[in-house]
């Protein structure tokens, strides 16, 4: 399938809904459709509880739509089993979380290396790739450090390097600056901008309109509905 402009989209959602069963049924996503082309920098904003994380979980293959079609890198993910989804996730998706989720007992270098543990990256290349992405996020000088000795902004840059190392089709970030102060938030966002300028597809979810302002494409989420601004 190709997009309207003839380029195959990295992400294509069509009529996706996600409901959570319970005492009261929650409509977290309502009929969401979106396309993300290679090289796009997309931000998704919305108030707390509007469904941003749910959307990102669906996009990250950590959750399945209740109805609708999700194509990732040209693959219809609907019929895929858990193992195939895990493999696709390993190959195409890089995650950055609000909590950095670095392993405390491993050095910066080893944490970034772990990002390729399950990915189809030749093992012979991995060390080189770690060095390259650490260079990209300006953390080479901290390669042998443990996360506890780093500032919040540095930790998030290591987490970004971990997500980038395998060369994912898209970088998915959920509130990447949620644990950072204004100054360091700026650094991380600058990094996202640089990465996007170098061709990396980036999709950032945030409740902060200032952050969203950095992205070329801005989308807003309200009560499970997504619209482009």
């Amino acid at each position: 399938m190709t997009g309207v402009d003839g380029i195959e989209p990295v992400i294509a959602l069509e009529g996706v809904s996600r409901t959570f069963a319970g005492a009261v049924k929650v409509f977290a996503l309502r009929d969401v459709s979106m396309r993300v082309a290679p090289g796009d920098y997309v931000s998704i904003t919305g108030p707390s509880g509007s469904g941003k994380s749910t959307l990102l979980n669906v996009l990250g293959l950590l959750d399945r739509p209740t109805i609708g079609i999700y194509r990732l890198a040209g693959v219809d993910t609907g019929p895929l089993g858990d193992t195939a989804r895990a493999r696709l996730r390993a190959a195409e998706l890089g995650f950055v979380f609000q909590g950095f989720h670095l392993m405390a007992k491993r050095t910066v270098f080893e944490n970034v290396l772990l990002g390729m543990a399950y990915a189809p990256v030749p093992k012979a290349e991995r060390q080189e790739r770690v060095a390259a992405v650490l260079e990209q996020v300006s953390m080479t000088h901290r390669a042998a450090f443990f996360p506890a000795t780093l500032s919040g902004g540095e930790r998030q840059r290591v987490a970004v390097a971990r997500a980038l190392a395998k060369g994912p089709a898209v970088l998915l970030a959920d509130e990447p600056t949620g644990n950072l102060d204004a100054q360091t938030s700026g650094e991380v966002l600058d990094l996202f901008g640089e990465l996007n300028a170098a061709g990396q597809t980036v999709l950032v979810v945030t409740h902060d309109p200032l952050i969203a302002g950095r992205a070329a494409r801005r989308m807003a989420m309200t009560d499970g509905r997504l619209e482009e601004r």
């Binding site: 979980n57 895929l80 493999r87 950095f100 543990a117 959920d174």
Partner: protein, 414 residues
């Protein structure tokens, strides 16, 4: 359009392999050394006590075997009793003593053995090289019945032993003990050498190589009992040798007297082995029943502690589990990682336990002045039991780990 996954299964050099899994498991364990030691110790106690138990039983039974003298347990002797006052021997053994007791239950073989007094200077082999030179150590002369060889568990080095024919017809034949043959210079019997006792020559038909009882036979010129009676003046058999089934001693002792002489059954010196020792059985049974149970209980506690501690780890490592899933780990590989971790704990516990157990066996053996016997397969088995214990203990926590919802776990902070 494709419905299946776009990518083929990646090659070994790209894939997350079993080796990678082990590496991650080792790092996971190394991150919590206190827990590792605690849980491995619990397994160690169980495996250690099992190894001590089994090793001790092995050592014990080997020890019993070493001290268990099968000759003493099966060899017996009956002889005429000397009058304590006069030294007379009023009731000689009958000539057919061997046949009489051979019929009894529990008797494997019976034969007589008598020493005959002759002028040893007159014993020589033919041809005589130098009649003036006496043999270095003159052989004795003994008389036996055909089953005597089987009774003393003798083995021929050359030729044959006497048959019933030789005994029945009092043949002038002789069998040489190994040492007597050497003294007399007889090496082979194929050329029918002769020995002289006095002026009478006897054809040598065999050489006895070894015996387990009646060692005097090895240094003797041996002739059939009937021959000795006819030609060498044997008045009565000296002693009756018996080979018994293990444990048959008391039963045969009660029946031998009447069988030899129904009128005067109590006039013989009967020296037969006592009842079979049940030491071996009791040792193994006592050791096994008590300590095997203790060892298994300790092992179960070890497994339980692994399961509990690992479940705790799973709760604490929800973030790591979520991260791994986000990085592309399958539920199965997350579960496998935890099973690998507990298996390694089990292996460590098993190896240390086996080592401690072996030390224990060596210590106990030293205290009892026994020779420790530890089968190396026991150590291998201990390691294997440790791995299996760890793997089984890890199953429940592994399932919990696999069920961790990555989306939720990843939103839980650090």
């Amino acid at each position: 359009m494709t419905a299946g996954p776009k990518r083929a299964r990646p090659s070994r050099r790209e894939r997350f392999t079993g080796g990678d899994l082990l590496g991650e498991a080792v790092r996971g364990l190394a991150g919590r050394p206190g827990r590792l030691v605690l849980t491995a110790l619990a397994v160690m106690l169980g495996i250690g006590s099992l190894v001590v138990t089994i090793g001790f039983a092995q050592t014990g039974s080997r020890q019993v075997e070493a001290t268990f003298d099968s000759v003493a347990a099966t060899q017996g002797m009956i002889s005429e009793r000397a009058d304590p006052l006069t030294g007379d021997k009023p009731l000689p053994l009958p000539w057919d003593a061997a046949e009489r007791v051979a019929r009894l239950n529990g008797v494997v073989a019976a034969g007589t053995l008598s020493e005959i007094e002759v002028d040893t200077k007159r014993i020589s082999a033919a041809p005589v090289f130098d009649p003036e030179a006496p043999p270095v150590a003159a052989p004795a002369v003994m008389a036996v019945t055909p089953d005597t060889l089987a009774t003393v568990e003798g083995v021929m080095a050359e030729g044959v032993f006497f048959s019933g024919f030789h005994e029945a017809t009092a043949q002038r034949v002789a069998v040489l003990g190994r040492d007597a043959a050497a003294t007399l210079g007889v090496v082979r019997v194929s050329d029918q050498p002769s020995v002289f006792i006095g002026d009478v020559s006897y054809t040598v038909i065999g050489i006895i190589g070894s015996v387990k009882a009646g060692h005097g036979l090895l240094g003797a010129v041996v002739v059939p009992q009937s021959t000795a009676r006819r030609l060498l003046g044997l008045a009565a058999p000296d002693e009756l040798r018996l080979r018994l089934e293990v444990g048959a001693g008391p039963m045969v002792a009660a029946q031998a007297g009447p069988a030899l002489n129904p009128n005067s059954p109590n006039d013989y010196d009967i020296a037969l082995p006592g009842p079979a020792s049940d030491f071996r059985k009791s040792l193994t049974r006592d050791v096994n029943s008590l300590f095997v149970v203790l060892g298994l209980v300790a092992l179960a506690i070890g497994a339980l502690s692994i399961a509990v501690v690992t479940s705790l780890s799973v709760m604490e490592r929800r973030g790591e589990i979520g991260l791994r899933r986000a990085l592309g780990a399958t539920q199965r590989s997350v579960a496998a990682q935890f099973v690998a971790e507990t298996s390694i704990v089990g292996l460590l516990g098993g190896l240390i336990g086996a080592a401690a157990g072996v030390l224990g066996v060596v210590g106990i053996s030293a205290a009892r002045e026994w020779t420790p016997v530890v089968d190396l397969r026991l150590v291998a088995a201990a390691a294997l039991v440790g791995v299996v214990t760890g793997a089984v203990a890890g199953l429940a926590p592994a399932v919990r780990a696999a069920r961790v919802e990555p989306a939720t776990a990843l939103q839980e902070g650090t």
